[in-house]
């Protein structure tokens, strides 16, 4: 029985995506979970995985086409299976006709609108439910009813775009989509500087990612009243512990200073849930999130993304390091997955590798705070009236003043000091 693959809704606000490349050609086999196509959204190029196993019988849209979400893009079935799609005669680029429910499509057919030869009956299954209807598992439906969630807002990851339990959980963990952040790179941007031609201006068109960053950051700076608190940390113990830990780990498993900071921030957020929050102006309330999902800003070629570790407070540092490494690699390769970049509740931007003393970051709405981390440096410090060489790092917290005040920000930074300066707590 043939199944139809639809353009997935990869984010809360995604309305359409560009089908950049078909990875599996017509007539080729595809395994469940294998990459079927690459899609570019506002945020990134994302791989679309097949929910079915079988042969790709037909691509319904061409490469480079902009396709509305939920529009059928391909049919997968058994070898030799006949595809009878009304949509075949319709221009795939428009998407909408193909997305029409099967029954209506059949009823509406008139000689002017469809070639009679291909009428027949539509593909038996897989045509998305009519507008307003959503495929969802019974559990997902019940959860949505309990939490008063509109299922149409939730992206389904199951077969045929079915909304399942984890989609609802994912939806709940992200008050709004996280997007590109103004924060700073974890590593150097990859684009090499371009030489200047004297007297000649060079026009560089905004990529979708660049444009999205621009929109969101402008919105944040204009609408969110920021204040900043800076704290200096004694990093000697972290550096020593990291040295010892990394001596035991293979090269590919090494833990970065930032991984320690991510874990420490997650634990500090446990104590200060008000900074792991979002403001909801309509309801005049602050939503303190039930999960601590720490995002880390990563520089990519055309801008930057924030990769997210979920339930960061509950994960060992080694796992945080491994997950982050994987997500950073995917982000760099332009193969980032939706779940890599969505759902953060707090962000860390670390410019430490660029020899930065300190800086301030713009909050990524709807989060309440962002931590900007500078370099770890050897500096003169005074201990008990004596001048010594110390290992110090400065971090600046930007906070949404509608949610919190200076004292709470300062106490959060102190809580961070508690673990960063006694880092054994982080690996217990």
């Amino acid at each position: 029985m043939a199944e139809t693959v639809i353009m997935p809704k990869l984010g809360f606000d995604m309305a359409e995506g560009t089908l950049v490349r078909w990875v599996v050609n017509e007539g080729e086999n595809v395994a469940k979970g294998a990459v079927l196509a690459e899609i570019e959204t506002d945020k990134a190029t994302v791989e679309v995985e097949s929910s079915y196993e079988g042969v790709v019988l037909r691509h319904l849209v061409q490469q480079g086409t902009v396709v509305p979400v939920n529009t059928p893009i391909a049919v997968i079935g058994a070898q030799g299976e006949k595809v009878e799609l009304q949509a075949e005669g319709a221009p795939a680029t428009q998407g909408a006709p193909a997305a029409q429910p099967a029954k209506e499509a059949q009823a509406d057919v008139s000689p002017q609108t469809a070639p009679t030869a291909e009428l027949a009956k539509p593909v038996e299954a897989g045509i998305p439910a009519p507008a307003g209807e959503v495929r969802a598992s019974p559990l997902a439906k019940k959860m949505a009813a309990d939490k008063k969630i509109d299922l149409r807002q939730v992206r389904g990851s199951g077969p045929g775009g079915r909304v399942v339990c984890k989609d609802i959980e994912m939806f709940l963990s992200q008050p709004q989509p996280a997007a590109a952040r103004p924060a700073a790179p974890v590593t150097a941007p990859m684009a090499a500087p371009v030489a200047i031609t004297p007297g000649v201006d060079r026009q560089v068109p905004l990529t979708r990612l660049r444009a999205a960053i621009g929109r969101r950051m402008t919105e944040s700076v204009q609408q969110v009243p920021h204040f900043y608190v800076t704290h200096e940390y004694d990093m000697a113990a972290v550096m020593e512990l990291r040295k010892q830990v990394n001596a035991l780990l293979p090269e590919e498993d090494k833990i970065s200073v930032n991984d320690f900071i991510v874990k420490a921030a997650a634990l500090a957020l446990l104590e200060y849930p008000n900074l792991n929050a979002s403001i909801d102006l309509q309801k005049e309330q602050v939503v303190q999130h039930g999960s601590i999902n720490v995002g880390v800003a990563v520089a990519v070629e055309s801008g930057l993304l924030t990769v997210v570790t979920r339930n960061t407070d509950q994960k060992p540092i080694r796992q945080i390091a491994a997950e982050t490494r994987g997500m950073v690699e995917r982000a760099r390769a332009g193969k980032v997955r939706t779940e890599d970049i969505e759902g953060s509740t707090f962000t860390i931007s670390n410019l430490g590798m660029f020899d930065v003393d300190q800086f301030t970051a713009i909050i990524n709405p709807p989060e309440a705070a962002i931590l900007a981390v500078g370099s770890v440096k050897q500096v003169p410090v005074v201990v008990d009236g004596e001048l010594r060489v110390g290992t110090r790092m400065k971090a600046t917290l930007s906070v949404d003043h509608r949610v919190s005040d200076g004292a709470e920000g300062a106490k959060f930074l102190q809580a961070l000091a508690k673990t960063l300066e006694s880092p054994l707590r982080l690996i217990l």
Partner: protein, 323 residues
């Protein structure tokens, strides 16, 4: 705790119950002088004598008919069928008499009898000697169907079956006789009609019994290596069917795979999945998967036979399907 085989566990249960109650006796083909086709009753004839360990003609209707008559008149027979495939020769006695006499005579008769039958495929015995028709027998009200998957359960359940006043079909899987497991020392019984969580997990519920338990456990071991924690619920008896632990587990994992050796259509998986859909509909997050025998008479050819029987990889595939 001693580590013994399923064969030894069953043998111990029979021995202990015959020692305990002089009304208990065994009848069947080659159970006496020969010691049983699977050597379960080896040594019984010499110890208990020919009156209590009775060899019968090769006539299953006679074996079951005689068991029913003796049970109605006060003895506690244990009738052995060399294979469950031969139960079809005694179907009228099993279905129309043993399962119904207590009811039809308004409780005037009890039928404290056990039919021990060896089932299952995988030993190249051909299409007529390799069947797993457990679900057929579980269809009839009045007949209890028990099928253990571990030595501990085999011993405890068989002792309960022998002491029960109801007719019970006790199905032993031929390829499990060699399986070893811990069995408690001393006297114990295991209640019939109680499912058991044999392995805790949180990601998916595997419902199974008998040989399926062995396959599912191996699958769960492999899945654990990938970070998938499967919870295995062992039904242990098909009638009465205890859905309590199954539903409890399912409400936690929201996904289930049912593993049985019999054919898929109208099988144990059909019944269990229907009950989950009826009783836990709001907890269903993925269509329930059934792993079962391919719908062909079981081939003699070894390769084909293994292909037709459910395998560890089939279970793993089904689990990944529901995750």
């Amino acid at each position: 705790m001693a580590r013994i085989t399923m064969r030894e566990a069953i043998s111990q249960a029979l021995w202990e119950e015959m020692e305990r109650d002089p009304k208990v006796f065994i009848l069947g083909e080659e159970v006496g002088v020969w010691g049983g086709t699977y050597a379960v009753t080896k040594g019984f004839y010499d110890h208990f004598g020919g009156d209590r360990v009775r060899d019968t003609p090769i006539a299953e209707a006679v074996i079951i008919g005689a068991a029913i008559g003796s049970a109605m008149t006060g003895l506690r027979p244990i009738a052995e069928l060399m294979t469950i495939n031969f139960a079809f020769s005694a179907m009228d006695h099993i279905v129309n008499e043993s399962a119904k006499l207590h009811y039809m005579f308004a409780g005037q008769f009890l039928l404290p009898m056990v039919i021990r039958a060896v089932g299952g495929g995988g030993r190249q015995l051909g299409a007529t000697h390799s069947q797993t028709p457990d679900a057929i027998f579980a269809h009839f009200p009045g007949l209890k169907v028990v099928a253990p998957g571990t030595p501990e359960d085999a011993k405890g359940l068989l002792k309960s079956a022998i002491r029960s006043n109801d007719p019970i079909l006790f199905i032993e899987h031929a390829t499990l006789y060699q399986v070893r497991g811990e069995v408690p020392d001393g006297e114990y019984t295991t209640p019939i009609g109680v499912s058991k969580v044999q392995r805790p997990g949180k990601d998916v519920t595997i419902v199974t019994y008998s040989k399926g338990l062995e396959i599912s456990t191996k699958a769960a071991d492999k899945l654990a290596g990938e970070g998938i924690e499967a919870e295995i619920v062992d039904l242990r008896s098909l009638r009465p069917l205890d859905m309590g632990p199954v539903l409890e587990s399912f409400k936690k994992t929201n996904r289930a795979v049912i593993v049985e050796e019999g054919w898929r259509s109208f099988g144990v998986g059909s019944e269990v999945s229907a009950r989950i859909y009826e009783e836990a509909f709001d907890y269903v997050d993925a269509p329930i998967q059934r792993v079962a025998q391919k719908e062909v008479p079981l081939p003699y050819n070894r390769t084909l036979e293994q292909m037709a029987l459910p395998q560890v990889d089939d279970v793993i595939k089904a689990v990944k399907e529901v995750l």
